[in-house]
């Protein structure tokens, strides 16, 4: 067996895993790897900041279901990855993060660009490796990918000292351990217990999250809903699991959920939680959440079952066989279903807001109505993120890339870049805000360099809108550090990056702007100016139950 360097082996391992793109930024401690990737079968995307690499790998993985890979050098290179790694951990995104480390004999000496990234990331990775011996690399690379994608996915860090990258050795790729990647089947007893609860219920609601899509259980889930005819509410990350236009889909639940969704959950007698985790943004005050309901909790991660809410039936493991086994008619729920559907009709959102300015919910609804089944929306964080969740109709969960758990501003643009490369069959639109876009604006240069056809819909209220809204409602209108009225001219800025752009202020110009978003080739930025006072409704105030949501606009 011929010798190769550790870095060359890492490249061969990435090729063997079928990696087609990696996202990164070179530097001293990762130089042997960057030397080895010349001529590799995968393509390296040079971002302009390591956080962009982590979010791009994150978006790549979310859109495709494949493991995203990012690379950075030691010290500041690795610390710049941290927010993206945390985001992947919170939202269970499969990623492998390869970082250069100072030479082994320098570890612990405060050497130039030495940072203990292994220690820093311990709380935010599914697992991590610090490679101490070049002969460990075959096992480490195999395990990194296996751990990242198996069970509940997550990020895995592989920290490789420079001398390990340079060391020659006879190294052989290890075969993929497919049997260890399959989640265990749930117990028959737990499924039977769940079946009995379904047979006994009168007012059931399905509360489904991102775990359904990640478990590749969309078809089984839709089969379960078709058979049982139970009304469905989704978490932010679950949107699209049941298509938005399915009559049984009531809407998103939680802090910015729709009235019909939250009220149905509050009144139900059986809550079937599938691939969700009773996150505080979904539940409001947990003790007041679905107060009369028994719970069936289905999740691949056994530690989520019963973590926050007692489950009368905990179904831990592969949810697909469980959903199949539970797909039977429930004739006793017809009256409840009819009441839920009437509520959905009664509280349907009204898109006829007064005024001539752009009404973002209506713009996003029109965008969703006109986009095809192969359109991916990558969101940033803030008001626009909630408007997208509420009003853009999703057909598949992997078409909605959003930083749900960590709420990381700056996610949207680099995640869109990753998505566009992993799903060249899809159109990718990044919906961002004027606060969020500035957090990774440098990735416009990446868009231009590789001519990645990401469209950016920039919703600009010249403020940190969600913070402004909370200061208005809950801090007596004492506005503190939310003004962004000195934003750059985003059209000129975009053009400076080589990306065409145009400006929209009036409602009447929205249809034509959407035409261009949907039809123009190549990257494009649409700068939409909106009123600073626009708020996201409904809103469940802090320390309130989801039944106590507020609406203060024309939908009141």
């Amino acid at each position: 067996m011929p010798e190769m360097s550790g870095a060359s082996f890492v490249c061969r391992a990435l090729e063997a895993e079928g990696v087609d793109y990696i996202f990164g930024y070179p530097g001293g401690a990762i130089m042997p790897f960057y030397d080895a990737i010349v001529g590799a079968k995968f393509k390296h995307i040079l971002v302009r900041h390591e956080q962009g690499a982590a979010f791009a790998a994150n978006g790549y993985a979310r859109a495709s279901g494949r493991v995203g890979v990012c690379v950075a050098t030691s010290g500041p290179g690795t610390t710049n990855l941290v927010t993206g790694i945390a985001d992947a951990f919170m939202d269970s995104v499969p990623m492998v993060c390869i970082t250069g480390q100072v030479r082994s004999h320098l570890i612990g000496t405060d050497a130039f660009q030495e940072v203990d990234i292994f220690g820093i990331t311990l709380p935010i990775v599914k697992h991590s490796f610090l490679v101490r011996n070049v002969h460990d690399l075959p096992f480490v690379m195999q395990e990194a990918f296996r751990i990242a994608r198996s069970g509940r996915p997550g990020p895995v860090l592989v920290d490789i000292p420079r001398d390990i990258q340079e060391a020659p050795a006879e190294l052989k790729l290890l075969p993929r351990k497919l049997d260890e990647e399959r989640p265990p089947a749930p117990s028959k007893e737990s499924i039977e217990k769940a079946a009995q609860l379904l047979r006994d219920c009168r007012k059931p609601i399905v509360y489904a999250g991102g775990g359904v899509g990640m478990a590749n259980a969309i078809e089984e889930f839709r089969g379960f809903i078709k058979a049982t005819q139970i009304p469905v509410v989704h978490t932010l990350k679950g949107l699209g699991t049941l298509p938005y236009n399915d009559p049984l889909f009531l809407g998103m639940l939680g802090m910015h959920g729709f009235k019909q969704s939250n009220l149905a959950v509050q009144e139900c007698d059986l809550l079937i939680c599938i691939g969700a985790r009773f996150d505080d943004r979904a539940t409001g005050v947990l003790a007041k959440f679905a107060p009369n309901a028994k719970v069936i909790h289905m999740d691949v991660d056994a530690s989520e079952v019963g973590k926050l809410r007692k489950a009368e039936a905990g179904v831990a493991g592969d949810i697909r066989p469980a959903l199949k086994a539970l797909s039977f008619p429930l004739p006793q729920i017809a009256e409840w279903r009819a009441a839920c559907l009437k509520s959905k009709q009664d509280y349907a959102w009204k898109y006829n807001a007064p005024g001539d300015g752009v009404y973002v919910p209506a713009m996003l609804k029109e965008l969703g109505d006109r986009a095809d089944d192969k359109t991916i929306i990558s969101c940033d964080v803030g008001q626009h993120q909630m408007w997208v969740a509420q009003h853009y109709g999703f057909r598949r969960p992997e078409h909605h890339l959003t930083s749900g758990g960590s709420g990381a501003m700056g996610f949207g643009l680099p995640a869109a870049i990753g998505a566009a490369l992993s799903r060249p069959d899809c159109r990718v639109i990044c919906v961002s805000g004027d606060g969020s876009i500035m957090m990774n604006i440098q990735e416009m240069a990446t868009l231009n360099r590789y001519k990645i056809p990401v469209k950016i819909l920039l919703v600009d209220n010249q403020a940190l809108g969600m913070v402004r809204q909370w200061q208005e409602l809950f801090f007596a209108k004492k506005y503190s550090e939310i003004d962004l009225s000195d934003n750059p001219d985003f059209v000129k800025l975009s053009e400076a990056f080589g990306i065409p752009a145009f400006f929209v202020r009036e409602r009447k110009d929205v249809p034509r702007a959407i035409d261009r978003l949907l039809n123009e080739p190549g990257p494009l930025l649409v700068h939409v100016s909106i009123e600073q006072a626009a708020n996201v409704w409904p809103l469940v105030p802090p320390k309130k139950s989801n039944a106590e949501m507020e609406i203060h606009d024309h939908n009141k």
Binding site: F118, G119, L122, P123, K126, H127, S128, F129, L130, R132, I147, S190, D280, T283, G284, V285, L286, A287, H297, D301, A302, S303, V305, G306, K307, L308, R309, K310, A311, E312, A313, G314, A316, P542, K543
Partner: protein, 114 residues
């Protein structure tokens, strides 16, 4: 009231720190630790005495149930076995018997988050 957790852990880079971090981060106060390297030097037998953080009144949040912890610890890649014993016993308690002895899913309590 404190409880005792027995963990068999592969000896790997940072595995002990990872275990203790997981316990602390998930809302449990570590009161004592004893770790011994196995005879083959491939694993640690760890005994952790812990108790849930007690939120300061007037917070409505309750302390986390002790029996949630084993399943959270079991997720760590290096954990081979985990077992919860009720009230804490002093060091010298028996080593863990089986990873499957971790707390049973669906047997928990309400928590509050605001």
């Amino acid at each position: 009231m404190s409880s005792t957790l027995y963990v068999r852990l592969k000896k790997a880079e940072g595995s002990l720190v990872r275990l203790l971090g997981q316990i602390g981060r998930r809302g449990y106060d570590v009161l004592g630790v004893r770790a011994e390297l196995s005879a083959d030097r491939k694993a640690f037998d760890v005994i952790v005495e812990f108790e849930p953080f007690m939120p300061v009144p007037p917070a409505v949040q309750e302390a986390r149930p002790a029996d949630v912890l084993p399943r959270l610890v079991e997720k760590l890649v290096e954990v081979e076995k985990v077992e919860l014993r009720g009230p804490a016993t002093k060091a010298g308690a028996p080593a863990p018997k089986s990873k499957a002895a971790a707390g049973k899913a669906g047997d928990m309590h309400f928590m509050d988050n605001e």
